[in-house]
């Protein structure tokens, strides 16, 4: 076997699926070629890592951390809700205030008084006109009498 054949057969070698003859040829080449020997050795050692995977120990504080995070989250949600709710409530209070103000204003606004006032103003104007007319006629009478 040459180096290229070794590389081609490497997967089969690592899977232990070479037949006896192939395995003998493979090993013979490794004995003669230092580079292939190193490559094959590194490959074996690297792939062996998968046969002994590291298992982590469960974290005893995981439960506490998760519960704290969940509580913290619900607090944040409440706080966010407050943040949104407060300006909305304030806006609503202002609107209600304005509405009530307008309502109350209308309630105490006496239309009759206004219309009476209007009438009286009209009467006053009429009166003024009448008075003016009377005065004018008086002046005319006076002037005519002088003649």
């Amino acid at each position: 076997m040459n180096c290229k054949e070794i590389h081609n057969k490497l997967n089969a070698y690592l899977e232990s699926s070479l037949d006896d003859d192939q395995l003998r040829d493979f090993n013979m080449h490794l004995d003669a070629c230092d580079t292939c020997k190193k490559v094959v050795s590194e490959m074996e050692l690297t792939m062996q890592i998968l046969d002994r995977p590291v298992k982590l120990e469960a974290d005893p504080f995981m439960h506490t951390r998760i519960i704290a995070e969940l509580e913290n989250e619900s607090e944040t949600v409440k706080w966010k809700f407050k943040q949104v709710l407060q300006p909305v409530l304030l806006g609503m209070i202002i609107l209600v205030g304005v509405y009530l103000g307008i309502g109350l204003g209308n309630r105490f606004y006496d239309e009759d008084v206004f219309s009476n006032q209007q009438d009286s103003e009209v009467n006053l104007i009429d009166l003024e006109i009448d008075t003016y007319a009377n005065i004018t006629s008086d002046i005319e009478t006076f002037l005519l009498s002088e003649e």
Binding site: H7, L10, N11, L14, T35, K38, V39, E42, M43, L45, T46, M47, I49, L50, P53, V54, K55, L56, A58, D59, M62, H63, R65, I66, I67, E69, L70, E73
Partner: protein, 187 residues
């Protein structure tokens, strides 16, 4: 407590059920995340995120698959997203120190492991991470986590035959990548 009872209790927001869920499934989630991200701290953070997501979205769980399948799926997705985010960040050079300490298998393997072994682990997991997504998921779950073909099929929503094929191709590609790496570095 049966699985269904546990789910019902979580839906009722029973704190004892939360504890049971975490105690029972923490090793599964933690080690799945760890097998992808190769950092103990990151795996713990991801595990926490997975459980919080499970508790939050338990109402969506229809019980069509096992809870472990659901957890595997979430752990894999979270871990892959984390790797993607990490890659993106390191691309912009924001987390240089992580390159040195966190991701180079420093805390991911026992402190008494030789430097050569740590180097090999890094080379191996870098090679695994460079596989296509589906090959990487199937290979990691089977080879590192020891999940059966049938469960991987359920987790990935594919047939058992496809799982076999994915793992075969992953193994073959992985060996090619490693061979090419060692050939370059041995000369």
């Amino acid at each position: 407590m049966s699985e269904q009872e546990l789910i019902d209790a979580i839906k009722r927001q029973d704190p004892h059920a939360y504890r049971s869920l975490i105690d029972q499934y923490q090793p599964l989630v933690l080690n799945t995340c760890y097998s992808f991200v190769q950092s103990e701290d990151d795996a713990k953070d991801l595990t926490q995120e997975v459980f919080i997501e499970v508790i939050r979205s338990i109402k969506k769980f229809r019980g069509e698959s096992k809870i472990s399948t659901w957890l595997y799926r979430m752990a894999v997705n979270r871990s892959l997203n984390h790797i993607k985010k990490y890659k993106r960040r390191s691309l912009f050079g924001e987390v240089e120190e992580i390159n040195k300490g966190d991701f180079t298998a420093s805390d991911s393997f026992n402190a008494d492991k030789s430097i050569e072994d740590q180097e090999r682990s890094k080379v191996l997991f870098d090679a695994i991470n460079s596989l296509k997504k589906n090959q990487r998921i199937a290979f990691t779950l089977h080879k590192v986590e020891g999940v059966s073909y049938a469960e991987i099929a359920e987790i990935m929503n594919i047939t058992t035959y496809s799982v076999e094929s994915l793992i075969y191709r992953a193994k073959s590609n992985l060996q090619k990548k490693l061979l090419s790496y060692y050939q370059k570095n041995m000369q």
